[in-house]
């Protein structure tokens, strides 16, 4: 069984994001970029299935600018087998609907039994690509997975839902999106980072797939949110109780 894992290059989660003064977007100049943390969880999940003998090959795909190849290399260093870089002909973020349409083409070429995606990218926070891909392929989906097991042509998935956990099954081929509790991604060892440099990576462009990449959401402004001012320190629990009573909160 082959597993496809889409990976996105995003601002590192530790970076303090700054809005450009002219309101045209986010300042991406000279900031640290990393693999979307949820995608690391997806890569880890796929590699574990390969190590367990359930999967035979783990293929990564990234859509973005040329530097997305670094993100693919990072996943190859974790243990994935090969990568596909799809260079986008657009500036800025690519909408999940477009990503899903491109991934449909990749799925048609690669015929994986499972596509594992992060539940959300921490830049646009959309939480949409996996569900959209499932819809376009006509496949079943199991989102927000915190446990998964593959057996008898099915995935048994425990999902993080609003009130707790839900267990469901989905027939393969299927889409799974990962949540934080699924696993703890490994760090790539130095030898594996070296080895990853030699793993195959094919390079394509969005034009190769004949998918219209124009956005459906026109961004007309990007602003800083209303700030919050620091308040006061209270010296003791009594001081805190007094303040809360004054405010009529308790």
């Amino acid at each position: 069984m082959k597993i496809l894992v889409p990976v996105k290059r995003v601002i590192d989660y530790n970076v303090k994001v700054k809005v450009k003064a002219d309101g045209s977007g986010i300042d991406l100049a000279n900031v640290k970029m990393s693999m979307n943390p949820f995608d690391e969880i997806s890569v880890e999940a796929a590699i574990r299935l390969k190590e367990a003998g359930t999967a035979s090959e783990v293929v990564l795909v990234s859509i973005g600018d040329k530097k997305a190849s670094e993100t693919i290399r990072a996943g190859l260093a974790m243990g994935a087998d090969r990568g596909i870089l799809i260079e986008a002909d657009t500036d800025g973020d690519i909408e999940p609907l477009v990503v899903a349409k491109l991934l449909v083409k990749v799925v048609e070429e690669e015929t994986p039994q499972l596509v594992i995606l992060g539940k959300q990218a921490i830049d646009n926070d959309m939480n949409a690509t996996g569900q959209m891909l499932a819809a376009l392929l006509g496949w079943g989906q199991a989102t927000f997975a915190s446990e998964m097991e593959i057996a008898d042509g099915k995935a048994v998935v425990t999902r993080e839902v609003d009130g707790g956990l839900q267990t469901m099954t989905v027939t393969l081929p299927a889409i799974i999106t990962t949540d934080l509790r699924l696993n703890e991604p490994r760090y790539a060892s130095l030898p594996n980072i070296m080895k990853a440099k030699k793993k195959p990576m094919s390079e394509k462009t969005t034009a190769d797939y004949g998918v219209d990449t124009s956005p459906r959401l026109k961004v007309i402004a990007t602003e800083e949110p209303a700030g919050r001012e620091a308040g006061i320190r209270v010296g003791s629990v009594d001081g805190l109780v007094e303040k809360l009573k004054e405010m009529g909160l308790v």
Binding site: M126, A135, G140, T167, E224, A230
Partner: protein
């Protein structure tokens, strides 16, 4: 303009507060038809929300557990003439809406915090470090809204309730079981008071200190990711960028450092209290009242004195 609203149903009952908040957002767009996946009584409860003009109820087992394949089919079956499809930005909504949007060849608009007009919406990106205004170019707009950003619509409506059937059950997925956490406390996203614990609480046993304070205040319990990852609290209590977004009148953060991903889920609370032994903790930068103290002393004392 006609809006199809996917109601929030939990354990067979209508989540009234969440649905009423989505209804407020929906009513800004047009006439609202609510689709309720659950028993007829849940539909009737939705019909009492003033902003809702009509209710469709589907009692089919196949949609009761929120499986996306079936719920999206049901939404599409009832979307004729609709200009907007809307839900809460809950896990239930986020599971289904992008699927519906893709089937309509539309780009979903997630986590809307403000409706500017029928095609213009504001939504946070980068853990709420920026707010984008987007204009949707799609024929049907599919959007999920953050309930914390909208007031609940009043009751007193009397919308007609019509039963609808699911046209076909998908064979792709099957429900096995739900393990829902019943705490008897107010629901996290609609509670007026939330007490959250972080890694500093140290253990599942000591998390009882957080619950005791919440119970004294009649509030809900929340947690940071670190507290959930460490097994101190269940996953559905995680507040933050990738958990729940809350905006209560009072949010008390205990043993939580204030990482940006946590702030994303609570910084719109009216009053924030932080209890942390590290006076440099970033949580103090957003707290109205900060107490530098050991939580193991301060929290029991606070619980007793309130």
């Amino acid at each position: 303009m006609a809006v199809l609203l996917l109601a929030e149903v939990s354990g067979g009952t209508l989540a009234l507060d969440a649905t009423a908040k989505v209804a407020t957002a929906a009513a800004q767009l047009g006439e609202v038809t609510a689709l309720v996946c659950g028993p007829r009584a849940a539909g009737e409860a939705a019909g009492k929300i003033a902003a809702i003009s009509k209710v469709l109820v589907c009692e089919d087992e196949a949609v009761a557990n929120g499986l996306a394949e079936n719920v999206s089919q049901l939404l599409l079956d009832n979307a004729d003439g609709m200009t907007h499809i809307i839900s809460s930005a809950s896990n239930a909504g986020k599971n289904v809406l992008p699927r519906v949007a893709a089937l309509l060849d539309a780009m979903v608009i997630t986590d809307v915090i403000k409706i500017v007009d029928a095609q213009t919406f504001k939504r946070p990106i980068y853990a709420g470090n920026a707010v984008q205004t987007v204009v949707s170019l799609d024929a049907v707009k599919v959007l999920s809204v953050r309930t914390a950003a909208f007031e609940a619509a009043g009751e007193g409506g009397y919308a007609a309730v019509e039963v609808v059937a699911l046209t076909g059950v998908s064979a792709l997925t099957a429900h096995v079981e739900d393990k829902l956490v019943a705490s008897g406390r107010p629901e996290l996203t609609s509670a007026k008071i939330v007490v959250s614990g972080g890694r500093g609480v140290g253990s599942e046993t000591d998390f009882a200190l957080i619950s005791a304070l919440a119970d004294k205040l009649g509030g809900a319990v929340g947690a940071s990711r670190a507290a959930v990852d460490s097994g101190f609290a269940p996953n559905d209590l995680q507040v933050g960028q990738t958990g729940k977004v809350v905006a209560p009148d009072l949010y008390i953060a205990v043993g939580i450092s204030g990482a940006i991903q946590h702030l994303a889920g609570m910084k719109d609370s009216k009053i924030i209290v932080a209890i942390n032994k590290d006076e440099e903790a970033p949580i103090f930068q957003v707290a109205d009242f900060g107490l530098v103290a050991d939580l193991f002393e301060a929290v029991p004392e606070l619980t007793e004195k309130l």
